[in-house]
């Protein structure tokens, strides 16, 4: 009798013990994971590579996404890392390619960066086009645009009627179709390349 009791007790201890350890380890791992995730999602992390700091980061500083009338700023991850969890993880996994090229030194001089700029830009434009410019829309929303306050040229083009959204059709264009090179310099020969890749009409 006592043996069975003991065994039952042992089993109980074991289950409780492993559950507790599991929870603790889980918290640590999950917390650590999220912490790393948050850490790699800061501007400071992005510009810890001189490739970013010396090129695209400097260029960003000339633009309206860096400083403007109202003092709102978009930093690297706001545009280049999706906000939603699943998409974010996918992007982070894909970023291992960037780590590889960092190690290989693919763009470690300004000249190499320039040579590679068009390839990188096209790849980013493709990503944005494929997601219907999801990251732009984290901040910019058609529904929140006051067309009265835009330049007539812009208002005309942002008008939902032009975009056919009122008829329930999907708009034929997305932000990046027109707004290329708004945060970084345009690569040489971008227009022809973008047209060829179907990213510009």
């Amino acid at each position: 009798m006592t043996q069975i009791k003991d065994r039952k007790r042992m089993a109980g201890f074991f289950i409780k013990g492993s559950l507790l350890t599991g929870i603790i380890v889980g918290i640590i791992l999950w917390g650590g994971f999220n912490w790393t995730m948050a850490l790699t999602n800061t501007e400071q992390f992005c510009i810890s590579c001189h490739e970013m700091e010396d090129n695209v980061y400097k260029e960003l500083q000339e633009t309206v996404h860096w400083s403007n009338r109202t003092g709102v700023r978009a930093t690297c991850p706001d545009c280049h890392v999706p906000k939603e969890w699943v998409h974010k993880i996918i992007r982070k996994i894909k970023a291992s390619n960037e780590v590889y090229h960092k190690i290989m030194g693919t763009i470690d001089t300004p000249e190499k960066f320039e040579n590679y700029r068009l390839t990188m830009a096209i790849s980013e434009w493709k990503r944005m086009k494929a997601t219907d410019s999801r990251e732009c829309r984290n901040c910019h929303n058609f529904a929140s645009m006051n067309l009265e306050k835009q330049e007539p040229r812009s208002a005309e083009r942002h008008d939902p009627h032009v975009w056919e959204v009122v008829d329930g059709k999907t708009p034929s264009k997305t932000c990046i179709d027109c707004h290329k090179g708004i945060a970084h310099h345009l690569p040489k020969g971008w227009e022809e390349a973008a047209k060829k890749a179907g990213l510009q009409d």
């Binding site: 320039e114 345009l186 009409d201």
Partner: protein, 189 residues
């Protein structure tokens, strides 16, 4: 210099509404006034008044010493006015570039038209020229912008080119945005 003569000159300057610093014996007058003064001096026989500063259309003001003891320190106005050389320059007033729909009227026939919009976001570099996003042959219709004129697609011998002529690559060499700013230098063109 005789007293009555000095009084005449000072009186004339007052009529011309030139600023006057009698205490330091220094008179500041504009280029226009200086010309008037010179002719005045010429008409008064025996006048010893000297025009100390060169007459230059680019100088905002010239300084004439009307002091009886010439040789005393004379303040000289530069393009910075009487601003001390070793002091920081006055900060430039910030001006927003104009946006004028319909364009800006030309002052003469062959004038490169002024740019009726802001060009803050545009970049003209070795890599590219963002003006051509809107003003190129391919894009101007879609962008509802005027196409860069035919002359921009010709060599200096009048040969037609497919692409923008290198002579016309640096748009802002000829076309300029406009702002509500007073000219730094008088312009009588």
């Amino acid at each position: 210099m005789k007293k009555p003569l000095l009084i005449t000159i000072v009186g004339a300057l007052m009529l011309l509404q030139a600023p006057l610093v009698i205490g330091e014996e220094t008179v500041t007058i504009s280029v226009k006034d200086l010309k008037a003064l010179k002719s005045l001096c010429a008409s008064i026989d025996g006048a010893k008044t000297t025009a100390a500063a060169p007459i230059s259309s680019s100088a905002p003001a010239a300084v004439v010493s009307a002091s009886p003891d010439i040789g005393k320190a004379v303040k000289v106005a530069s393009l910075r006015g009487f601003h001390e050389l070793d002091k920081d320059a006055k900060p430039v007033e910030k001006k927003k570039q104009f946006k004028i729909s319909g364009g800006i009227e030309k002052n003469w026939t062959l004038q490169p038209p002024s740019i009726p919009h802001s060009i803050e976001k545009d970049r003209i570099t070795l890599k590219g020229n963002t003006c051509m996003k809107c003003h190129s042959k391919a894009n101007h219709e879609k962008e509802k912008a005027p196409q860069a004129a035919e002359s921009h697609y010709k060599t200096r011998d009048g040969k037609k080119l497919e692409k923008l002529s290198p002579r016309r690559y640096f748009c802002v060499q000829c076309h300029t945005p406009q702002a509500d700013a007073k000219p730094l230098v008088e312009n009588i063109f």
